[in-house]
Homo-oligomer: 406 residues x 2
């Protein structure tokens, strides 16, 4: 990480971005309304849920994003505005309109996100109040409040910022996210907002976002369920003043690597904060014949309920790992597979050439007693790798989802 | 069900089939060895796991089944003989050889199944003892013992038998199965053995088995994990003496319907006995544009951790149901979707036209308090239906898989 530096910060770290997070009464007591605003109209790129059932704000944003530009994002938590029909779509449009009025910008430049309970229409009086308050409170220090206001069952805020050097110009990328339940490979009930003051062409921005989403948010799993509201939005306002970054250049590489760091960091934070999680798990599939094989394999393992419960139970059950590899659809040769378990307490080989290898059970227990566990699967057939992240499946996951009535 | 009658019984109900179940010491205390034997060489059909990591007995049986004939099935529980390399394959071959010697039949006519822990080679002395005992104990009453001996974490035996009338001839179909964990759409850690004395052509037998497996075992989900050992084997010895059943005849229809009943019954028993299950859940998707859409949709819903935990929590959370429908890959129109919850306590509509409909929460609670819950999803666009079966996701699932060290 030579070309960028991790700093304290979030979406308001890049030049020209303000944010706010307020309480409008949609949730019972916690902040539930956020606005992220750029002083200058920004280039905008986004990725949305592939669920066929899309929430109203997702449908709205998919139209708005076509212009390639935006200036503000308004977000409410506590209500997903999903499965709410024509009324839901009108409510989402109203949200954009109200924000545009307050901030004196074009309504087409306001993107809208919602997260929370499905199937209930938005309480529009509270929404109006939230927009009024959030517009007033926009500030350079508001990123933390925004990070708080977008949470649902999350237990901590997800924030990150990095500083880049682009041809001598100082630029920043910052982000906030929320996750927790319905987190599956291919996004999640997750929202992620990334800002940058770097000047970058629309084409390069789209490409960088797409490629980094594939290697970050799409590689996490809490429970295998994919939500109706998943959204990643990125705004680039160009206020750093650097020469515009174009594709296939050294500067693009710097930008890409910094953005990948930001998105991976947020994705991992989401996996760590999975509903009921007691352990964080990284699945590293190495030496696959193609990147797609490595991705298929790592996602399948990280998504397996039996692997998740084995990690919860601190059980070196490599049979479940190789079974999940087997039904992943990835190309590999069973006889070549080696599996390792790794943590701060060391590393141990638990499967060799696709079968049993004697290992020290006590050492395995010690490694698995840690909070962060790495499963390394070496396919030994190619040179492509992938990383996926998730959490264990605990009693509390069942408790949260078995008794939690949103 | 006019053309067949459900009777008490199992694999030994059809004429000419004997079975046994004994304790050989692979498991700690319970029966762990079974043989099913036909006095006459039988036509044989089978379906196997699609997991790329296949256990040694699966690899062996896939070769043996090519002949289209078999006379005995030997099964051990407590050890899956999976991920055991060349040694595992040789051990499985030895099992077939030993059984053939004891029963004085051709080793090529002995199919082999194993279920249990992955990655440990078979204790061949115990295997030899099991085969000796099980061969001695073969009897017309041994079906129940065999049903017991094939279990792993199952809590009850799965047995079924039906009596058919084929052109005036009395014929029987009987079955036993085991399931419990690693149960996913597309088979499971599940073994199922079906016998019949009906005379049926090999082609018709293959077709009937394939079509009924698709609508039974492939429609159940406990945890979404697919095992290395899943096997369904069917033997037809023709001893009922009926004129050979051919495809596309009225007799084939009778046979098909009876076999579908048998396989559905066993599949549902497996779902009911899912690890940690407190409730049985049936997902009925109706009026889909194609059967494949109905299958995709019902499997996706029955496999969702969030739907499973909602059923555990007796929560009428239709948002999770429509979200799982949304990512299923099925074709449907959100605006046309109606969702109902049903049990012995009644039926209630919880979603109309893909959105909120007011419903009586107390009535919903009452319906969901039952042990058997039906989720009915009406896509309102076509005329195809599918049924899938599963169980809830409970604390005990986590307990069994988080602390159970096979």
């Amino acid at each position: 990480m030579e070309d960028f530096e991790v700093i304290e910060g979030n979406v308001t770290s890049p030049k020209g971005f303000l944010a706010s997070g307020v309480f409008a009464g949609i949730k019972k007591a916690k902040k539930d309304f956020a606005i992220i605003y750029s002083e200058k109209k920004a280039k905008a790129a986004a990725a949305f849920t592939t669920n066929k059932v899309k929430a109203a704000p997702v449908i709205l944003d998919m139209e708005k994003i076509k212009s390639g530009e935006a200036q503000a994002i308004v977000v409410n938590s506590g209500n997903a505005n999903a499965c709410t029909g024509q009324k839901g779509y009108e409510d989402a449009s109203s949200m954009a309109f109200m924000v545009a009025e307050k901030l004196n910008i074009d309504k087409d430049d306001v993107l809208v996100c919602s997260t929370g309970v499905i199937g209930v229409t938005l309480p529009m009086e509270k929404v109006a109040k939230g927009i009024e308050l959030a517009s007033q409170e926009l500030s350079k220090d508001g990123g933390k409040d925004a990070a708080e206001a977008i949470l649902t069952t999350d237990t901590f805020t997800k924030e990150v910022a990095v500083k880049l050097n682009i041809e001598g110009y100082e630029a920043y990328i910052g982000g906030i996210a929320k996750g927790s339940g319905m987190i599956s490979p291919n996004m999640a009930t997750m929202l992620s907002f990334i800002t940058t003051d770097a000047d970058i062409s629309k084409k390069a921005l789209d490409k960088a976002l797409k490629e980094t989403v594939k290697r970050s948010y799409n590689m996490i799993s809490v429970d295998g369920d994919m939500s109706t509201n998943d959204t990643v939005i990125m705004l680039a306002n160009g206020m750093a003043g650097n020469p515009t970054i174009e594709e296939d250049t050294h500067e693009y590489e710097i930008f890409y690597n910094a953005l990948l760091y930001v998105n991976k960091h947020l994705a991992k934070q989401i996996a760590k904060d999975g509903e009921g999680a007691t352990k964080f798990m990284e699945v590293s599939v190495v030496n696959a014949p193609t990147e797609d094989d490595a991705i298929l394999a790592s996602k399948s393992i990280v998504n397996s309920n039996l692997v998740k419960t084995a990690i919860f139970g601190e059980d070196a059950n490599w049979g479940r790992i190789i079974a999940a590899l087997g039904y992943s659809g990835a190309n590999f040769s069973q006889d070549a597979v080696d599996i390792y378990l790794k943590s701060n307490k060391g590393i141990i080989k638990v499967c060799e050439n696709g079968g049993y290898v004697p290992f020290n059970e006590d050492k395995a227990k010690e490694i698995l007693s840690e909070k962060e566990i790495s499963i390394v699967v070496d396919l030994n057939v190619g040179k492509y790798d992938a990383l996926a992240w998730g959490c264990d499946l605990s009693y509390d996951y069942v408790k949260i989802n078995g008794s939690y009535r949103t």
